[in-house]
């Protein structure tokens, strides 16, 4: 980098100046060109090569990570070569530009595009027409997709199930997390216990689905049960069941899927509650005890109100999370047996049925559901005075 900046030194003779200028220009043009060419070669290699996986992995990591760093370095160099005024004007955008461009492309603009798609039939707006022609085309269906979202039988089932997910999943995750945090706070084995409880957070939903499928594994009555739950049930004199697929108790068979997410998320809420509980002043608890409160009163009258803010934010986070739940249901039941949720319906409509209008309408409904949280975040941000 230094030798490039070194070219900024002024020289005396006009001839040298011109030479320096041409040299700088050449450097400024050729470095980005070489950089882009190298990046392009890497891309082609990764896309088309059939080299051994290990080599592809190494190239992918080096190319991906190095490429991004290289791009920043190149653009920074170009901008630093400009006159100071322009450097100061443009440099912030070199720094912040890529982030904003990617966010715009991947999240901000897609909300508008998805909304636009949701107003059209299954193939989306016809290509090659302008805005008004698209509106006038027969593919434009107005709000019909939304009507379908709120009337189709499977969608209603998905809404009902998602409600169950939100009510049972988030509430029980919070409850278990809170109880474990309080217990761990008073135990000598706090560290070990907490590690074990939040270990599931590192496990993928697919992995968790396999783990719980094994617990729910069903063998016909009379055979040795290899699933833990059925083994217990049979030992207690019950008859074995394939729990997530147990249609006759629908919608309650959803609970066997919800348990998985409670198992995964309790660790998350435990960590946050544990930190919040440590923030309660000891004098406050001591004062309660001196006044004769028992441990349950201290829990409900002092601890819970004190960490109410944390409880609400943890609960909100898990609600948003369960609202979008997909992997567990998709791997465990594929949405059959009355277990569809909004996100599995979205996937089924968008990618299995290839009905982009319907799928997009579902995505917009998901977006609308999180808008209150979005406004809350913005309000919080506005209230921080320093920005």
């Amino acid at each position: 980098m230094n030798f490039l900046n070194g070219t900024k030194e002024p020289s005396d003779s006009p001839g040298e100046r011109v030479l320096f200028f041409i040299g700088r220009l050449l450097l400024a043009v050729s470095i980005p060109l070489i950089a882009f060419y190298v990046l392009y070669l890497g891309f082609i290699f990764l896309r088309d090569s059939h080299a051994p996986r290990g080599i592809i992995t190494v190239v992918a990591i080096v190319w991906g990570v190095g490429g991004v760093a290289l791009l920043y370095w190149v653009f920074n160099n170009i901008v630093e070569k400009l006159p100071d005024l322009w450097t100061n004007r443009l440099l912030p955008f070199v720094f912040v530009g890529p982030a904003m461009a990617i966010l715009g492309w991947y999240l901000a603009i897609p909300t508008l595009r998805t909304f636009w798609l949701s107003l059209f039939g299954r193939d989306g707006p016809p290509a090659g027409l302008n805005f008004w022609e698209q509106l006038a085309s027969p593919a434009f269906v107005g709000l019909n997709n939304y009507v379908a979202v709120f009337t189709e039988r499977l969608m209603l089932e998905a809404f009902r199930n998602n409600l169950m997910w939100i009510i049972f999943g988030s509430t029980l995750s919070v409850a278990f997390g809170l109880v474990i945090a309080v217990l761990a706070d008073r135990s000598r084995f706090e560290k070990v216990a907490k590690s074990f409880i939040f270990l599931p957070m590192a496990i993928s939903f697919v992995g968790a689905s396999i783990i719980w499928n094994f617990i729910y594994e069903y063998r016909p009555a009379g055979q040795a049960q290899i699933g833990l739950l059925n083994a217990v049930v049979v030992n207690l004199g019950g008859s074995p069941q394939a729990y997530p697929q147990w249609v006759s108790i629908a919608p309650w068979n959803n609970l066997f899927l919800i348990v998985i997410v409670i198992w995964l998320q309790a660790g998350f809420s435990m960590v946050l509650f544990s930190a919040a509980l440590k923030g309660i002043p000891e004098e406050l608890l001591e004062a309660g005890r001196i006044d004769g409160a028992n441990e349950f009163q201290i829990f409900f009258r002092i601890m819970v109100p004190y960490i109410r803010g944390t409880i609400i934010s943890v609960w909100t986070t898990i609600v948003i999370f369960t609202l979008k739940i997909f992997d567990v249901v998709w791997v465990m039941t594929g949405g059959q047996f009355g277990t569809h949720v909004i996100a599995t319906q979205f996937y089924r409509q968008s990618f299995t049925n290839r009905n982009s209008g319907f799928g997009s309408a579902i995505a917009i409904v998901l977006l609308i559901a999180v808008i209150p949280v979005m406004f809350y975040n913005l309000k919080q941000f506005r209230e921080q005075e320093a920005f």
């Binding site: 991004v68 912040v96 890529p98 897609p110 909300t111 960590v271 979008k324 998901l366 941000f381 920005f387």
Partner: protein, 367 residues
Amino acid sequence: MKSGKRQKQLGSLFVNGSLFLLTLVWTIPTMGIFVSSFRARDDIANSGWWKVLPYRDWQPVREIDPREAGLNPDEIMEIEGVAGTFDEFRAGIETPDGERITWIGNKRIGRLEVQERVWTVDWNFTLDNYKQVLGGQSFTFTRPDGTVQVVPGDNMSGAFLNSLSVAVPSTVIPILIAAFAAYAFAWMKFPGRRGMFIMIVALLVVPLQIALVPILRDYKALNLNGTFLAIWLAHTGFGLALATYLLYNYISTLPRDILESAFIDGASHFTVFTQLILPLSVPALASFAIFQFLWVWNDYLVALIFLGGNPEFELVTQRMAAIVGSRGSEWHLLTAGAFVSMALPLLVFFSMQRYFVRGLLAGSVKG
């Protein structure tokens, strides 16, 4: 005073007891898979994994030849103080002194076994499951036009490397981009700064489902679908809002005078950022990195959509879901495979637990 101490002991017993019970409940599911992954295929299929714990089972101690004892299987038989029909003996009859007599075999050439209850364990451990799930048997098939094609290593180890190729850049790229942006928001003045940051805050909770259909269309138009670049960029896009927000919160609290003295010494923004800010932000970078890594490694939906069309780039989560779908009762493959897919995240998780907790407390939760 004495009762107070007793109460305290009781309380501690209650606390530790319930905590132990909860920890046990939380651990047993993973334990079942872990233990099973080392059991032989037939053992997994025929008995519960808890048989590795000591349990009481009937073991033969001696045999009786029914003909020598003068027993007729068609009548009620009486021996060693118990009596019963053939069918009852087939099921086993317990004697008053705690033994069990069971008829083994059929009526004509069967024998009687006297069994005793003894403690036993099934410790038939093996690594075969892991060898099968990782070992790359190549797969040969004949195309419709008659040419024979060999697909190398369509197995978990290939999927593992693919996941690595996806997860590492998908973790580092958003962090790098977010760190540049966070630096600009914290230390540079430029028009639109506040508006851009408000956009980032607003995008924190936008569900990624909103973007999948339009982005897939773009990728198809750009011929990017099914490439690593496509999925890196997608994960970058979906993780960037949170990364920028968290890193801004951290970088903006770094002491102002360090930077100012660097600028007085003539350092450029780029130098300050790479030489000063990045090293100082390592704790924040590490805690976000863990989250993004776990998130990407464990992701299923994004990979399903943007890599789904390319079987060569199948990731561990896709591979596992495929095994569940096609061979859901092959528990010897599923258990070992699940552990292979969990090995790296668990390692990262345990070695960097401190940063993980710190990240959680700073708000590392994806919208």
